[in-house]
Symmetry: D2
Subunit: 253 residues, 4 copies
């Protein structure tokens, strides 16, 4: 079992709510994925509507929402969005996402750390999206983040774990859960992340834009489970660099 802050999760697959063709497809996909934590871009929420196509279906499923600050270009914008989200969505969980460059959507390490520090002080459960930078991940952990979310490869590239050598170090050194985010374009990538000892993965585009998103959700659910099982069952010799077995696999469990 995975624990973040004081919450326990049966599923190690977090999924996004963007890019679905309809609210119904999203709802069925989420259900098929088994996910218990659904990210939601704040910029997509209309806070004046009592019901909508995104928040309402997630709540109907009884699942937790993880608002994200996608679109924020600075710490200030992200902090502002976070406070708004807390009030509107009644949650203090937050995926912190700050990317000044609209082209590649890569995270800003400086602003992310600054906002994380402030938001932790304000009582948020902060899970920052960040580069696969072991020193930065350690810093984020030190200011009180409850998890780190390093990227596997550039968003939308579907290239999988390009940063694997760095993820190995992050996983070895982290004492909070490591959630691999961005670049996971196929169920095999999710399996690989779990095999090297990541605690969870976040997937959005690869599911939402599949020809059959519900079947794809199911495929990801299976490979995340299987990758975790393989990690715990002790893969013999596949992992280059840092051996995942050196790490106590029940640390966050």
């Amino acid at each position: 079992m995975l624990t973040i802050a004081n919450k326990t999760f049966s599923s190690r697959l977090f999924i996004g709510s963007g890019k679905y063709s309809s609210a119904d497809v999203m709802k069925s996909s989420i259900r098929a994925s088994g996910s218990e934590l659904i990210t939601l871009a704040l910029k997509r929420v209309d806070f004046n509507q009592p019901t909508d196509d995104i928040v309402t279906p997630i709540k109907e499923l009884g699942l937790d929402i993880l608002p994200n600050t996608s679109g924020a270009k600075t710490a200030d914008e992200a902090i502002y969005a976070a406070r708004l989200a807390r009030e509107a969505l009644q949650t203090h969980w937050l995926k912190l996402e700050i990317h000044p460059d609209p082209n590649y959507l890569l995270p800003d390490p400086i602003e992310t750390l600054k906002a994380a520090e402030q938001l932790v002080k304000e009582g948020f459960v902060v899970m920052p999206y960040c580069g696969a930078d072991p020193v930065l991940c350690k810093r984020l952990e030190e200011v009180g983040c409850e998890a780190v979310m390093p990227l596997g490869s550039p968003i939308g590239s579907n290239k999988g774990l390009v940063t694997r050598d760095f993820l190995n170090i992050i996983i070895e050194q982290a004492s909070v859960p490591v959630v691999v985010d961005a670049g996971i374009g196929a169920p095999s990538h999710a399996a690989e992340a779990m095999e090297i000892g990541a605690d969870a993965v976040l997937v959005n585009t690869a599911i939402a834009t599949a020809h059959d998103p519900i079947a794809m959700s199911n495929a990801f659910r299976q490979t995340v489970d299987a990758g975790r099982t393989a990690f715990e069952a002790g893969l013999s010799g596949i992992v280059s660099g840092t051996a995942p077995n050196n790490r106590n696999s029940s640390m966050h469990a």
Copy 2:
């Protein structure tokens, strides 16, 4: 569903019977894998024993045995072993394996084609282990092989789909099932093989030598299923080179 010769398989995971710590572990592993076809090195069978630690447990599970000619260095040796296997094990299915070099166990394309041609004439269902060589695979198909078994990477390297660019071409061109064999060292590798459109995978060492072979069997079962689901559900843009979606995914189904 996968069909080879006239037999239909629910599971696209074939597994080996070597390197297990005991017959009991092997039996439990095979059961957990869901596999319906178990390879068996003829050189390991004592044909004078009425019961043994390998054949008997597989038969008790009610599963089909796929004898392999591992250890044969020439077509003649392989043909001899195949005939022996047919009589002793009462099956005309055969994984044809000829490797003159005891160090890297890489298959001999010339002897393999020669033996395949002869064994097909003798009524065997021949599934040859071979390099990831698209022209050779086509040749093997033309002489009547019922499947081809190209390698993902050198045996025992656990490197996964190093030959992926060539497997893509083989899968695109084949009209018999493609079973990826050798080099599959982690469940994520098996998922990847299925995602690019392979019809099945064969796994042995990665399961048999895991710390917990039964859990690992289960992990492979899940990722093979999930990889196939993902292939059928249409991955959007992960695959370089040949798009798996160009291929009729039900061709061998």
Copy 3:
């Protein structure tokens, strides 16, 4: 120094004569490359012309021509072309190339071995283009080929040494020179081939289709030299799998 058959080469870069924008560009490119052996597709030669745009410039440079049988789909076609070449071009050197599939131009291992055996008997210096298949390379050597020319990746893919794990084994086992052919799309790829211990590389498209083919020839000349120097100077620990230093680097020198 590299020796093939009884000929000694200062340059370990072989280049092709196809795809140049003009005979002049080709001539300048060849000169800049420092290459002493130029491949030439027989199908491009008009044997009725006393002078032409390809053979004549190469001869004017005083360089050796290595005719290739590109376009041949069978051993018979290749043998026919080879005999024709010997008479017309007055050379018994031959790059043997047999690819039945016009799409991917991948070599046929069976027909290639068959033709090689026959052509060696007829006195040709046979250098076969082949898959990166260590067993096949050994076979080709055993029938008398003076070098082997395994591919780095599919022709025209520009992907570099995708087959590196197999090239390592080929280089370790070969007792004739190993010339990496196909897939070399950048000077860095040529350097890498030399670093792992290849004896030479063959480059065509990457030079002929560069914006500035003459400058690119020069770049390849430098990286081939440098890669060889690095191999001989003993790279410390870059090479996975087979260490190039285990091999006597002066074996073919």
Copy 4:
């Protein structure tokens, strides 16, 4: 020609002064490399000695020294070391290097930016060693760094351009020279960095620990030249992601 600050360099290869077996070998290696800028770890300099085995030979060669702050764990330590270096070595050039983790020696993005800002104000020519983080590189440029030095792969891993997808973005976006640092374990890696459009590379271990450092220096010199030539000559289609040709190759020249 490469220009950093107001200085022009003929050579795009920067090399380190550590790990050589003797001052003589270092001196001959540096000369063979053609490098005009030599990094030097401040912690290795004995400022009380009028002559020594490191600074003196470099000065005898008439080359510029680029002191680095390797070993500094914080911005304050790095700033202190930089000021010391300026006085002792009479140069305001600085490779800024801050790594709190003694195990993997990965750079700290936060402290590096902080120190860079201060040191630029104090008149230093600051060249920071950093992760292959495009947003951070942009930030470093904005506070006045004259170049950025992103890593190719973890120091000492000899894995080459693992971060290639990110380097492509950095190179596309940078308006100061990009010098690839760390992980370059073979001349082919240096060629690749130049081919994708990097402005220079920094190499130390791969040269200093080679069996023959002088020959290896020469090999790196050649592949750096050749890689740059190839970049300018227009490689046709090798580069995935960002095409180097989209960038004005003479921007920093």
